[in-house]
Symmetry: D2
Subunit: 349 residues, 4 copies
C-alpha cells in the first residue's frame, strides 16, 4: 500500500515537534509537508526550529524546507499544531480548500458541529462531519482531539460510562511539557506546585461532557454528569496524573469496575489501528502506581494507567489515572484520530 | 519571668530536629533536656545526630548530652517526636510519671480521651484532660496535634465551620519533608508524583472530623461531614498543598467566605501566644497562589494560605490551601499547643 | 543619622526585585525611587511588576509610583539592575548627570577605568574613580560588582592570594535564579544539567583576574594566574557551587589554608559595614558540605562557604565553594559596595 | 545458534534489575538463573524484589524462582551485581568453581591480575586471565568493568589516547540512580547539589589510569597521566555529566580532536558485538549539549556523548562528556564485556 502523504501546520513549535517524532516511521502516513509562519517559511527545518525534545531531529526532516502555512500544495491530510492565537483562521482556510484538518488546537473543540474525538470513547461523533461540511460550505473538514488532561480523564472514564456517571470531582497534577516551550519558567516550578493553569479547568469540565455525550444529529448532547476540576502544575516532565472521585447512578461493585477497566477495548482495538494500544486502560495493582516518570512512556505513551481503586467516603469510588500528555494527550491523539478516519474512508478523495 | 524548662522525646530524629530549631530562642520555653533511644544516650547531641535541616545545629544544643528517653530527670513538659513504633509505651510512661506530654506522634490522636488540638479551631477540646487523667490514673497527661496535612486542611476549614460543612473532597500534594529522613528515596520522586502515602488518607478523614467536632463530656462528637482525601507525594521540600471542594448546609456567598477567611482569628490570637500568627488564615488574591516554595515559609511557617476561591460545579465552592508541614504541621503545632496549655494554667505544678 | 536616599534603575525586573528585598529595612539606605522603562513609568509598582520572589512585595514599595529611568529627580545614589541591552547608555547618562551608579550589570565591568569591586578582596580598586571622572568628564561615577559566579570564586580565593596563585581550573553548578525571569525554561532543567551558560566562562576568567589584580594608577594589572572555567546550569533555585583545583607558587600546607580561610576578614569587617558577614568565608568540616539548598541562605546569604579541602593530584589543592548568587552574587554585592563607598566618603556631596 | 545461558548474582537489587532489563531479549544470552541472598532464595522473583525501574518486571522473570547465590546449578556465565559488602567471597567462590564471573562490583577491579575492561579502550587487557587463573588456582575467572563515572570519562578519552594525555582535571555531575535504591534521600538532593560521593574520586583517578594503561604480562602498567576528580551528585535521574580539562604531550589541533572523536571505533564495532553502539563516541555540535535528560538514553544508552570542545586557558583543551550510568556505566558495560569475551572464545567450555 502506498502511504498517505500528510503535513503539519505549526511544525516548528513544540507540539509540531511531537507530531514529527510520533509520525517518524509511521506505517500509514508519510510526513512530506511542514507548514509554519512566514518567518520560518523557506528555511531548512533545522534552521527554522530549535529541537527541544530528547534525541535529535529525525534525519529526513532536519533538511526539509519549511512551507508557508497556506493551503495549496499541502497534502490533503494536515495535522494542526497551531497556537490558539492563529489556529482559527488558518484551520478554516485549509478546511474550506478541501483539506482534512486533524487538529490538536483548542479553537474549534467546542463548536457544535466539530467532532471532539477520543477514538476509544466516541468514534461515532465523526457523524457530525457531513453536517459540518454542509453548514460551513466546506469541501474539507475539521476534527479535533481534546485537551491533554481531558484525554487522560475520559480514557479512564470510558470503561465506566456503562454504570451511569452522575458526578465527579478531579484534581490534576500536570507535567510542564503541557505548556510547550519555553513554557513554564524553572523559577516557578522547581520544588514547587502552581495551583493554576489558565483555562484548563473549564476545558476539562466542558470537553469531558461533550466527549462522553451522545450524537444527536447536528450536535452532541453532553453527558449530564457534573464535573469539577482542580488543575495544578507540578515538577514533572511528561505525564499528567489525575485523582478522581466519582458517583454513579447505581453503585457498581469493585469487581464490576476492575473488570470494566481490564476488559475495555473499543473501535481502535477492533480495527487494529496502528497507534492503538492493545489495552487502552491498564489497571495497576501496586498500591503506589501509576507514576508519571515510571509509567507514562509505557505502551509508546498511548495507554492510560489506572490504579488505587477504593471506596470514596463521599461519592462511590475513587482512583488515580495517568497518561502521557504530549503523546496520547496531543500528537498521538490526533494521529489516532486520523487513523480512525482513514479506517472509515474519511480520507478518501 | 523565668522560662519553663522543656524536653524533647526523640530529639535526634528529623522531627526532633525541627523541635530544636523551632524552640531556639523561644520566649517562654527553655530546651534543657534531649531524650533519645539507648543507642544515643550519653553522647553529645552532635555526635548522636546527623543534622539534616538547613543551617547548622544551634550551638547550645550541639554540645548537650543526650539522655535516655525515660521519665525521671526530664522536665515536666516534654514534646514527643517519637517514631510511631515506640511512642505508645514511652509517652504513657511519661504521662503516668506526671509529665505533660505534648505529642506530634500519631499513636494517641484518635484515643477517645486524648485531645487532638489545633488551637485556632478546638482549644476547648483540652477539657478532655481531667477525664483522661481520671480514666488512666495518670498524674500527667497526653495532648496531641494532628497529622501535617490535616492541620493545613482544618486551618482552612476553621473559618468556614459556621456555614455548616456537609461534605468535602480534597487532594493533597505533599512535600517530602513530611516523610522524615532518609524518607522518600530520590529515585521515587525526582520528576515524579507518587499517588500514595500509607495511612495518610484515613488520618486526614478521621482527624478532621474529630478536630472539627464538639466536646461532649468524656469524648468528642465528630463533625458529621463526610470527608474524602486523595494523598500524593510531590517533588517539593516543604509545604503541603491541598485542593478542596466543599459543600455546605446552606450555600454561603463568595463575600461571606472571603470575609470569613480574612477576619478569622481565634484563641491563640486573642491571647497573643508567642508562636501564633497574627492572621492564621491568609487569603491570596493572585490567581496562581499560594505556592509551597514561595509561600510556606512566610509568617515563620505558622500561617495557612488560601487562594483561588471559586464556585464548584459539583459542590458549592472550591479553593486551594497551603501550609508548612514541618512547622505548622509538626513542631510548631506542638509548641503552639503547649503555649495554649500554658495560657490555661495546664503546665502549673 | 538620616538615611541616604537611594534609587533602583531597572526596578521591575528580577534583579530589581532582589534589590528591593535586600534594601527593605536597610539601616543606612532608604529606597525612595524606582526607575524602569517607559512602559512601566507612571504605574504603581505592583501594577508594573509581577513579584517573582518568595513572599510578597514589601508594603511600602507595592504602592510606590515607578519613574522613567532618566536622571533628574532620582537620588544621587542609584543601584543599577538594568538588562545588559540597555545599561550602557542609561548608566552613563546617570553618571554624567552626577549620580553615583553602583551597578550589577556587566556592561562596564571590564572597562579599564571602572572599579570591579568585591569589598573583602579589592577595596583599594576604588582608587580608579578619580581617573574615571577625569577621563570621562563625569560629575558622577560608575562602580560595578562582578558576575555572580565570579564573586563566589573570588571570595574563596581571597584568603589564598597571599600564597601566590598561579593556575586554577574550576567548574560551576549554577542556580536557575542567576538567569532571571522567565529565564531557564523548566523543560530544559528539570532532572537535567545544561553544560553551557552564554558568556559566563569568559566573564569568570577575566573578571577574576581583574578583581585579584593590583591597582596601577589608571588601571588594574590583572593577576597573572591562568583561570579556566566550565560553567553549568543545574536544577537548583539559589546558590552557585564551584569546584576548584588550584596551583600555588609555593605549595602551602593544609593548616596554612584552613587557617587562611578561617581567619579571613577584611575592610568590610573592620569597618563593620551593615551588610558585611562577620566571617566572610566559612569553612565547613562536614565531608558533604557546603550544599546550596542547605547553606546558601545562612548569614543572610552574604557569606561564602568552603569545604572539602584536599590534595589535588594534578595541582596543589582542591576544594568546593558555595555562595548565594542573587544575594552576595548580585543585589547584596552592590549594596555592600555602596556601603564601602559610603565609608570612604564617596557618597558625600 | 543456541543462546548461552547466564545468571545474575544479586538479582534482586537495583543493579540486578538493570541487568534483567538489559538482558531482556538479548540475542546471545538467555537469562535462566537469578541468584540472591538466603533471605530471597526460594521465592518468586516478583515476591523477592520490589521493581524500581520504569515499566514492569519482564514477564518471564517475574515468576522465576530466586536461587541461593552459591555455585552449583548456576550457568557457567554469571553477571555479578552484588553489593561490595559481600561480593569478594561470593565472586571468588564462583570463579573457583569454574564460573566466568563478569562483575560490576568494585571489589576486584584494582586487583593486579583482574582485567578492568572497557571493550572500546582496552580489550587486550583480557590477556591477564591466564595469569589470574594460574595465580589463584581457579578453573573460572573474574573480569570487571569500571565505576560508572570512570566509564564515561575513559570512553571520551579513548579517541584521545593517541595524542599522549599527560594531565587532566575533571568534575562530575552524577545522577542519583548511581547510588542504587533507596540510595540518595530526596531531602538531600531536591533543588540541591551534594559535593561528595564516598570513594568515587579515588575510583575515577585510579581506574582511569589502569584502563588507559598497557598490558605488561602479569599486570597492567597504568597510564602515567595525572588525574584529579571532583565528584558531585545532582538532581538527575540517569546520566553522568563530566567536565574535562586535558593536557597533552603535544597539543593536537581542534580538527585532530574532532576527527578523533568522530572516527573512533574499536574492537566491539569491528566484531559487531550485539550491544556495541555503532559510533561509541558521538560529538554534538549544539553549544548546550550533551544533556543527561535529553541524550543519555540515545543509542540504547550505550554511547558516550561529547560536546563543547574549546581551548582551555590552563591546559590544552576542555570539553564535556555524558553517558548513561546504569546502562553503559553498569549493566550494559558488563554485558558488553561478556560479548567481547564470547567473541574471543573465553566462554567456551
Amino acid at each position: 500500500m502506498n502511504k498517505i502523504e500528510v503535513g503539519i501546520l505549526g511544525a516548528t513549535g513544540m507540539v509540531g515537534q511531537h507530531f514529527i517524532k510520533f509520525l517518524d516511521g509511521h506505517p500509514l502516513f508519510d510526513l512530506t509537508w511542514l507548514g509554519a509562519s512566514e518567518r520560518s517559511a523557506g528555511k531548512r527545518y533545522s534552521d527554522a526550529a530549535k529541537w527541544n525534545l530528547a534525541g535529535a531531529t529525525p534525519g529526513r526532516i532536519a533538511s526539509r524546507k519549511v512551507e508557508d502555512a497556506k493551503p495549496g500544495n499541502a497534502p490533503k491530510l494536515v495535522f494542526s499544531a497551531m497556537d490558539a492565537g492563529v489556529a482559527t483562521e488558518i484551520e478554516q482556510a485549509f478546511a474550506q480548500a478541501g483539506h482534512v484538518v486533524v487538529s490538536n488546537s483548542r479553537n474549534h473543540r467546542m463548536d457544535q458541529d466539530v467532532p471532539l474525538i477520543v477514538p476509544e470513547i466516541n468514534a461515532d461523533h465523526l457523524k457530525l462531519i457531513p453536517g459540518q461540511r454542509k453548514l460551513r460550505g466546506w469541501k474539507g473538514q475539521i476534527v479535533t482531539n481534546p485537551n491533554c488532561s481531558t484525554i487522560v480523564l475520559t480514557m479512564a472514564l470510558g470503561p465506566l460510562k456503562q454504570f451511569g456517571i452522575t458526578r465527579m470531582i478531579v484534581t490534576t497534577m500536570q507535567a510542564v511539557s503541557g505548556a510547550g516551550y519555553p513554557g513554564v519558567p524553572s523559577m516557578d516550578i522547581l520544588g514547587n506546585v502552581v495551583p493554576y493553569i489558565g483555562g484548563e479547568e473549564e476545558k476539562m469540565q466542558q470537553e469531558t461532557q461533550k466527549i462522553m455525550g451522545d450524537f444527536a444529529g447536528d450536535h452532541i448532547t453532553p453527558l449530564a454528569a457534573k464535573v469539577s476540576a482542580h488543575c495544578n502544575r507540578v515538577a514533572v516532565v511528561d505525564g499528567h496524573t489525575v485523582t478522581v472521585s466519582v458517583e454513579f447512578a447505581t453503585r457498581p461493585s469493585e469487581a464490576d469496575l476492575l473488570n470494566a477497566f481490564r476488559s475495555f477495548t473499543s473501535v481502535p482495538q477492533e480495527r487494529n489501528l496502528p497507534s492503538a494500544p492493545k489495552y487502552p486502560v491498564q489497571y495497576m495493582i501496586e498500591n503506589d502506581r501509576p507514576q508519571p516518570r515510571k509509567d507514562a512512556e509505557r505502551e509508546h505513551g498511548m495507554a492510560t494507567f489506572v490504579g488505587r481503586l477504593r471506596p470514596c467516603p463521599v461519592f462511590d469510588w475513587k482512583f488515580v489515572a495517568l497518561g502521557h500528555n504530549t503523546v496520547r494527550g496531543a500528537a498521538g491523539a490526533a494521529v489516532l484520530n486520523a487513523e480512525l478516519m482513514q479506517s472509515e474512508g474519511l480520507l478518501d478523495s
